[in-house]
Subunit: 242 residues, 2 copies
């Protein structure tokens, strides 16, 4: 089971301050791109891995999903998600996808936002997702971009030419990374872009779209502090189907 940092009171408090935590999907700048990669929700059975506060689940429900199941390792996050859930059509369960008893071919869409980079054995999780998807089913997920997760000491630097740069090392060394994010000692797992793609292809998925997300000109105009993200993408967005 991945490290559950979200039930740490200090971490939970810090995470709750983020714009994406306070504003939901509207506070996630990559959401318009993610949304464009999703199938039409109407009638779909949806599984959300690492659902957090449930913003996506409420959206999917509003868009006509037949049912949405959100799972997460954090009781605190699920408590907040449940408090905002509609009466029916969205349910939440505490646990790990590999432990929960879910039926084969019982979902049309598996969605996961910024959770899979905490998974040590991604191949095993993708195998479970493949099993849970009905024929023609979709997988759409976002993770921290491999350029973001690779370095042993991630962070911006200024080079000799006065340019802001993101120094990378160990990109081709996949595996465990320990970084400081909100609190010290956060454990993540680095995969290369090809690593993510080939795990999917190896389990019989067809790749539908790959996005290395950065802000649009309009977003940079509104939030000039986002411009730096054009130097290296913070997120990798993947759409695939079976």
């Amino acid at each position: 089971m991945p490290q559950n940092i979200y039930d740490d009171p200090h971490f939970f408090e810090g995470y709750s301050q983020f714009r994406r935590s306070r504003e939901g999907l509207a506070g996630a700048p990559e959401w318009p791109t993610v949304r464009s990669m999703l199938p039409v929700m109407d009638g779909l059975r949806v599984l959300d891995l690492g659902c957090g506060f449930g913003a996506f689940d409420r959206w999917a429900h509003e868009m006509g999903a037949a049912h949405v199941l959100g799972i997460d390792l954090s009781e605190k996050m699920l408590a907040r998600a449940r408090a905002q859930a509609p009466d029916s059509g969205v349910t939440y369960r505490l646990g790990d996808i590999e432990q929960l008893a879910l039926s084969d071919a019982s979902f049309d869409l598996v969605y996961s936002a910024l959770a899979l980079h905490y998974i040590a054995d991604l191949d095993a999780v993708i195998a479970v997702i493949r099993r849970l998807l009905a024929p023609g089913g979709h997988l759409v997920f976002t993770v921290e971009h491999p350029i973001y997760t690779a370095p042993s000491h991630p962070g911006w630097q200024t080079d000799a030419h006065g340019n802001q740069v993101w120094p990378i090392n160990d990109y081709l060394i996949e595996g465990r990374r320990v970084t400081d994010w909100i609190r010290p000692g956060i454990v993540k797992y680095h995969h290369t872009v090809a690593g993510y793609v080939n795990i999917l292809l190896g389990h019989g998925f067809s790749l539908a779209r790959l996005e290395e997300w950065g802000p649009t000109p309009e977003q940079v105009a509104e939030h000039p502090e986002m411009a730096v993200e054009l130097h290296r993408p913070p997120f990798l967005l993947v759409a695939a189907h079976v």
Copy 2:
């Protein structure tokens, strides 16, 4: 038409000194991986874009390809390729894929090694490749990796922790880059990894495999100077089919 630097005497001389120029496929450390991404050659009609000295074309011929056509913009490179070509089964033509009159669906494999990052309008070239491929046909190509082509001032640095790092900037800004390689003023075109993948998907290709090449432990043992390439991949390798 891309800048033809290979007919510049100084550049040609410099390029000819490279291990991959002197030793052919055996001198290209990524070749074993590329080879594993290729279909069985027996009976295939093969087009090689940017064939250079023709090492791949001779190999494809030896492996049983029905016919191999190598095209290149450099007369000097084609002259050397022709001098080593077998009597039949391999032909060479000077020109650009968009200019040469080639029949629709007349090839089973289009191959290109370290040439497509010189192409300004990659989308147009991929459209031509798609048209030239017979049903079920394959496209296998290598390019300089986007992490390698992105920076405005590419090169290794040592960071404050004493680590060798490859600083990147402008990764999400696709387009023209002018760098010094053998001689000053070499023009290349940077695409993101997702940019390469989505152009293929947009033209109806299915992605079969993506590799961000780095040396194997055996290669590092034999050539310790290669270890640095593990910090950032020098090459992107792509296999797709129609």
